[in-house]
Amino acid sequence: MLTILKLALLQSWETSFVALRALRRNKLRSGLTALGIIIGVASVVAMVAMGNGARVRIQSQVASLGQNLLTILAGASHSGGVSGGLGSASALTLGDAEAIRREVADVVAVSPEISTSAQAISNGRNWSTSIVGESPDYLVIREWKLASGSMFTERDVRAAAKVALIGSKTAHELFGPLDPVGQAVRIKNIPFAITGVLASKGAGMGGQNQDDRIIVPYTTAMKRITGDRYLRSINLQVVSSERMDAAQQQVTSLLRQRHRLAADREDDFNIFNQKEIADTVSEVTGVITLLLGAIASISLLVGGIGIMNIMLVSVTERTREIGIRIAVGAQPSAIKLQFLSNP
């Protein structure tokens, strides 16, 4: 038994020696074959890596919106035959936001949102930017971090304090390299104390620059800047992604009740469920991954056919050699081994 094993080992050693020598003699063909295999494998690896990279990037984009986010947008206004865009209707109120905070158990954070655009002046420079009113929960809801300073507080909200957070782009435009924290910025001639600078977040899902904005307490925005009693939207954070649909339903029925909508009337608000976006996105990335996988497997198949072709050519062009080897007494297994080890 041992001697048979030893024999097989020696035989395969001899075969690999012959194969190595043949490789040296057919340098070009060996090189091209190796190149084909290398490129094939590399393309497969690259495809897989690209697929994974795209998926991670898209998922992080979605995650940058915030976790388990529900956004209630006021519906369109219709007055005198002119239809405003979404959020233009005067339907959402602070009472609605309070009611949601009180009555929907799955909602863990609420931030009423008012937005307008205004000229911000500071440091002898001015810059037109969007002014957004939010609650202190907003940064939690959007998973947004501060580059420096601190968020305004509930007390600032109650007092409608003249405090502001500034986006990194806006800060750059108004203050250049200086630290804006503690500085003042005037919006509609009202001086605001800057308490913090938002970390850069890049372009949002819609392509708008999220870093060009000033965030103030929503009460301040309503009372001192816009003078409006209505909200543009309400941002909600739900306790978990499983509770998203349930929370959306509860919020919908609560708001319909509060707005006294009859059963046959449409909603006068729209709810954007982040889970729906995430689901769509994951579907899209799934398709992309499938596509890349298909391309990779095709290239693998082509590579395989190439190797088969080379094997076939080397066998057919060497039938004479096989004949010679058989005539001098080569075992069939030895011939097979030779051609498998040396395509």
Partner: protein, 257 residues
């Protein structure tokens, strides 16, 4: 042992070989009886299609007879599987072909080493090398050991092929038109080598269709349409050594004149 008579090396009894090509059955060999003893030098002659090459393939264990019995060195070939046949070819048979059939892009030495790669038990590399050099020396090519096949003349290539056939010390050397691709002078040299090997005890069976060449052998078997029609000893044998000496003489005088 099937044969008590150990001087008989090859025993063919009623050997037939039939090929099927589509619908048509072609009977290449139809009932050949032949006994070849050790030390013989046999020429198998016949026109193309006479079945001599088929018979050669059967003798070389490259093909099995459809019916009949082939006993080689006391061993019935019919019952052997492909692995056993390969081992048998390796140990007991040496082949020489019309077109030399050396491996291309391979040195003379490596070509001669080839059969030993498939030998059981394994022959160590150094011993292989020595035996291959010895065989090349025997055919007069000591100086050409490292030459590649395409750097050798036809006669030299055939000598390498003969060395390859001899290297495993076979019982039987089978040659299929060994001089078919060679000029007269080289043919005489190769036949001289065969006669030398035969004198030293090697059994040789050679297929040829040239009467001139068969005249170097001790025995001539003539085939036609798949059967043996005559089997005679050569009364007058050509001697390659004296012919070559004469040829040298003629050339020498021609050069002087």
């Amino acid at each position: 042992m099937q044969d008590a008579n150990t001087t008989v090396l090859v025993q063919l009894r009623d050997v037939e070989k039939t090929y099927r090509t589509g619908e048509v059955e072609v009977q290449e060999v139809r009932g050949v009886r032949l006994a070849i003893e050790r030390g013989e030098f046999v020429a198998i002659m016949g026109a193309s299609g006479s079945g001599k090459s088929t018979l050669m393939n059967i003798l070389g264990c490259l093909d099995k007879p459809t019916s009949g019995e082939y006993v080689l060195d006391g061993l019935g070939v019919a019952g052997l599987d492909r692995k056993r046949l390969a081992a048998l070819r390796n140990r007991k048979l040496g082949f020489v072909f019309q077109s030399f059939n050396l491996l291309t892009r391979t040195t003379a030495l490596e070509n001669v080493e080839l059969p030993m790669l498939y030998s059981v038990p394994i022959i160590p590399r150094r011993a292989r090398r020595q035996r291959a050099i010895g065989a090349l020396e025997r055919v007069g090519l000591r100086e050409r050991v490292g030459h590649y096949s395409n750097q050798l003349s036809g006669g030299q290539q055939q000598r390498v092929a003969i060395a390859r056939a001899l290297v495993n010390r076979p019982e039987l050397l089978l040659a299929d038109e060994p001089t078919g691709n060679l000029d007269t002078r080289t043919s005489i040299e190769i036949m001289g080598l065969f006669q030398e090997l035969n004198e030293s005890g090697l059994t040789i069976v050679m297929v040829t269709h040239e009467v001139d060449i068969s005249a170097y052998c001790k025995r001539v078997v003539v085939m036609r349409d798949g059967i043996v029609i005559s089997d005679n000893r050569n009364e007058v044998r050509r001697c390659a050594q004296t012919e070559r000496a004469a040829l040298d003489e003629v050339e020498h005088t021609a050069r002087l004149a």
